[in-house]
């Protein structure tokens, strides 16, 4: 069966520091991969999605970036965090237009 992992589970970082969140998927090949952010009390905001290695589509211009160095690995990064980057970050994988499967999330607090 397929599983999706995210780490770390929680992270507290100062403003201006770098960020690296990692997501890996097991049990499937060539998945579509997604990064979402969920601000407190708000819905899901799609940040990036990828349909293959090295293929990244950005949905919202911001100081975040994403990379897909391997088929089942998706990384979210920032060179300098802002206070507004705080939130709950969710990685998901999906099979074309059907359902998406979400990881457990990373709670990021920027101080």
């Amino acid at each position: 069966s397929q599983t999706i992992h995210q780490w770390p589970a929680t992270l507290v970082q100062p403003v201006g520091s770098p960020l690296s969140l990692e997501c890996t998927v097991e049990g499937t090949s060539n998945p579509n991969l997604y990064w979402y952010r969920q601000a407190a009390g708000r819905g899901l905001q799609l940040l990036f999605y990828s349909v293959g290695i090295g293929q990244i589509s950005s949905e919202v211009p911001q100081n975040l970036s994403a990379s897909r160095p391997q088929d089942r690995q998706f990384i979210l990064s920032s060179k300098k965090l802002l206070l507004s980057d705080s939130g709950f970050y969710l990685c998901a994988w999906g099979d074309r237009v059907y359902e998406q499967y979400f990881g457990p999330g990373t709670r990021l607090t920027v101080t």
Binding site: G43, L44, A92, V97, Y98, G105
Partner: protein, 114 residues
């Protein structure tokens, strides 16, 4: 472009009462519709989905949703809720020309009171 509107941001209800969480969508193409549930500090889990066929779909824990094409709705219902149903519920839509993206509604927080 596709969009999803969840008409209620919060729904308080007493235990064992019925509940309906409303969802309307807009799309110019065939759609696939989903309801996801999110418990505190967790990722989303698929609750049920409509891809084709019967317009009434059910989940294993007693929820059901009906695809109504004429009203562009996909409301979620449960005849008798439990305390454990307290969570955030997201309606979502994807479609044939939506690329690989799913559009999520803003969410409805269901709060079940004893």
């Amino acid at each position: 472009a596709q969009s999803v509107t969840q008409l209620d941001s919060q729904v308080p209800v007493f235990e064992e009462a019925p509940v309906e969480l409303r969802c309307n969508y807009s799309s110019s193409v065939s759609v696939y519709l989903f309801w996801y549930v999110q418990y505190p500090n967790q990722g989303l889990q698929l609750l049920l989905k409509y891809l084709s066929g019967s317009t009434l779909v059910e989940s294993i824990n007693g929820f059901e949703a009906e695809f109504n094409k004429s009203q562009t709705s996909f409301h979620l219902r449960k005849p008798s809720v439990h305390i454990s149903d307290t969570a955030e519920y997201f309606c979502a839509v994807s479609g044939d020309t939506g690329g690989f993206k799913t559009i999520f509604g803003a969410g409805t927080r269901l709060f079940v009171k004893a």
